[in-house]
Amino acid sequence: MTDIQSPLPGTFYHRPDPDQPPFKAKGDSVAEGDVIGLIEVMKTFIEVKAEAAGTFAGYEADDATPVTAGAVLAKLES
């Protein structure tokens, strides 16, 4: 298992837009550099990217919730 951590403190989102599906679902294959979520920090949205390839194992942080820098956002099975 690999952790995907938050690069910054802020609010974590699973979806690009409230009306759209999450970036990834459990079992999806993930390539290095794939966007798995967004962090809203000071009104700016920063993409969270996977730093390794693998299979998406699920989100660890809930959608639209505050996270700290370094918090585990999601897990990958390699």
């Binding site: 910054l8 403190p9 802020g10 609010t11 920090v41 000071m42 009104k43 700016t44 920063i46 639209a64 505050p66």
Partner: protein, 460 residues
């Protein structure tokens, strides 16, 4: 009824500013704060404070029910909205007034009217305030477009009358060019919206942003002169001045008087700002919109006039007439404000919600800092990146720029990346020094690589 217990429905540096103004009037201050802001400086400085909900603004600073509940629980008799959040929400004003409280600002109707672009343009025209000359509706065909362009003057912008966005926009410098471009624009409009109708208006290609500060008591209004805020990045102002050195005295007087006429025509109460585009080439100014609240850059106006705008807002909200006449408001010297944002200007302005580790502010005559920081303070990531404003005042613009550069060099906000290096580089720019700037100047200047660690002389 005079304001005696004021709920501050905002955060950050403007909350501190409101606390200070209210205290100077002997008004009891009550700071509303979110769970993320419990350690905020104004929570400590206010006479009392009350938590209004979780960190996300929608659950706290934008939550009308939570704010009204807090006002009831603390026996507040008035609410100051600051800027942003609910400051221009007619629904909030109505809810505050329905609860029997005073809103520190204009009426809900005024906010609604001036918040609507078309209604605001009509109100401005009715009061004799110039607006960007346009075709006042759709034109069909090249001949009609040429006729309109002849009246409003070149260069003109043609765009699709239907739809929005940038589709079908063309700029024509003269009639020949318009003859070529109008059919293209019409075809594009037809393709995009199924309607080839066009709208023609004067193109102001590199305008300056000029704005006029006004104060009103519902009957009478005065202006506190103008500001220039042409240095903008992504439509956000980064550096603001009072006055606008590009204006001659006659244009300045006409501009400011037109703002008062509009304010009186809408029975304006409180502090407000009329924003204009100014065309250096022709010396013309055009109203674009009105902000019905206190603005971030209000301190530069206070520095050159000596008027306490926030205190005056609170007084007139309490039913007092304006405490001054136009003749009392003189311009004195030149003031500059720079916005200190928690962003890394050398990394595409990436937000930097750090923890303050060591804090030194500049001191001296003509130096003012509006901020909400304290040593050890963790800047929350949930809100705007503005953490403070450095304001300087000097007899001339040149001296003000020198004083600004010196004040920036003696400012230290440890542990946090800020926009100080940007302002140091701007203070050294020959274009900024000569005032050769407009709203489209800063972004190309940044893209051209003018902001480097060397150019900023940045000690951080």
């Amino acid at each position: 009824m005079p304001v005696s217990r004021l709920l501050i429905a905002n955060r950050g540096e403007i909350a501190m500013r409101i606390v200070r103004a209210a205290k100077s009037l002997g008004v009891h201050t009550i700071q509303a704060y979110s769970e993320a802001d419990a350690e905020m400086l104004s929570v400590r400085e206010a006479d009392e404070s009350i938590c209004i909900g979780p960190a996300p603004a929608k659950d706290s600073y934008l939550n009308i029910d939570a704010l009204l509940k807090a006002a009831r629980e603390t026996n507040a008799d008035a609410v100051h909205p600051g800027y942003g959040f609910l400051s221009e929400s007619p629904a909030f004003v109505r809810a505050v007034e329905d609860a029997g409280l005073t809103f520190v600002g204009p009426s809900a109707d005024t906010i609604e009217r001036m918040g609507d672009k078309v209604a605001a343009r009509q109100a401005a025209e009715a009061a004799g305030v110039p607006v960007v000359p346009g075709s006042d509706g759709r034109v069909d065909g090249v001949d009609a477009a040429l006729e309109v362009a002849e009246t409003i003057g070149y260069p003109v912008m043609v765009k699709a009358a239907a739809g929005g966005g940038g589709r079908g926009i063309r700029v024509a410098q003269d009639a020949d060019e318009l003859r070529k471009l109008a059919p293209q624009a019409a075809r594009e409009a037809q393709a995009a919206f199924g309607d080839g109708g066009l709208y023609v208006e004067r193109a102001i290609l590199s305008p300056r942003h000029i704005e006029v500060q006004i104060l009103g008591d519902g009957t009478r209004a005065v202006h506190c002169w103008e500001r220039e805020c042409s240095l903008q990045r992504r439509r956000q102002k980064v550096w603001e001045e009072a006055g606008a050195s590009c204006l001659d005295q006659a244009t300045r007087e006409t501009l400011c008087r037109s703002a008062v006429a509009l304010a009186e025509a809408v029975n304006y109460r409180g502090a407000g700002t009329l924003e204009y585009l100014y065309d250096d080439a022709s010396g013309e100014f055009f109203f674009i919109e009105m902000n019905t609240r206190i603005q971030v850059e209000h301190p530069v106006t206070e520095m050159i006039t000596g008027v306490d705008l926030v205190a005056e807002m609170i007084r007139v909200a309490g039913g007092e007439p304006l405490s001054m006449t136009q003749d009392d408001i003189a311009r004195n010297g030149h003031a500059i404000e720079v916005r200190l944002n928690a962003e890394d200007p050398l990394m595409q302005f990436m937000p930097f919600p750090g923890k303050v580790d060591g804090l030194d502010w500049p001191e001296g005559d003509g130096i003012r800092v509006d901020h909400f920081l304290s040593d050890g303070y963790q800047i929350p990531p949930f809100y705007d990146s503005l953490i403070g404003k450095l304001i300087v005042h000097a007899p001339t613009r040149d001296e003000a720029i020198d004083k600004l550069a010196e004040a920036l060099r003696s400012t230290r906000i440890g542990g946090v990346k800020t926009t100080i290096p940007l302002h140091l580089a701007l203070a050294r720019s020959p274009d900024v020094r000569a005032g050769r700037v407009h709203t489209q100047w800063l972004e190309p200047w940044l893209d051209a690589g003018n902001l480097t660690a060397e150019a900023t002389g940045d000690p951080q």
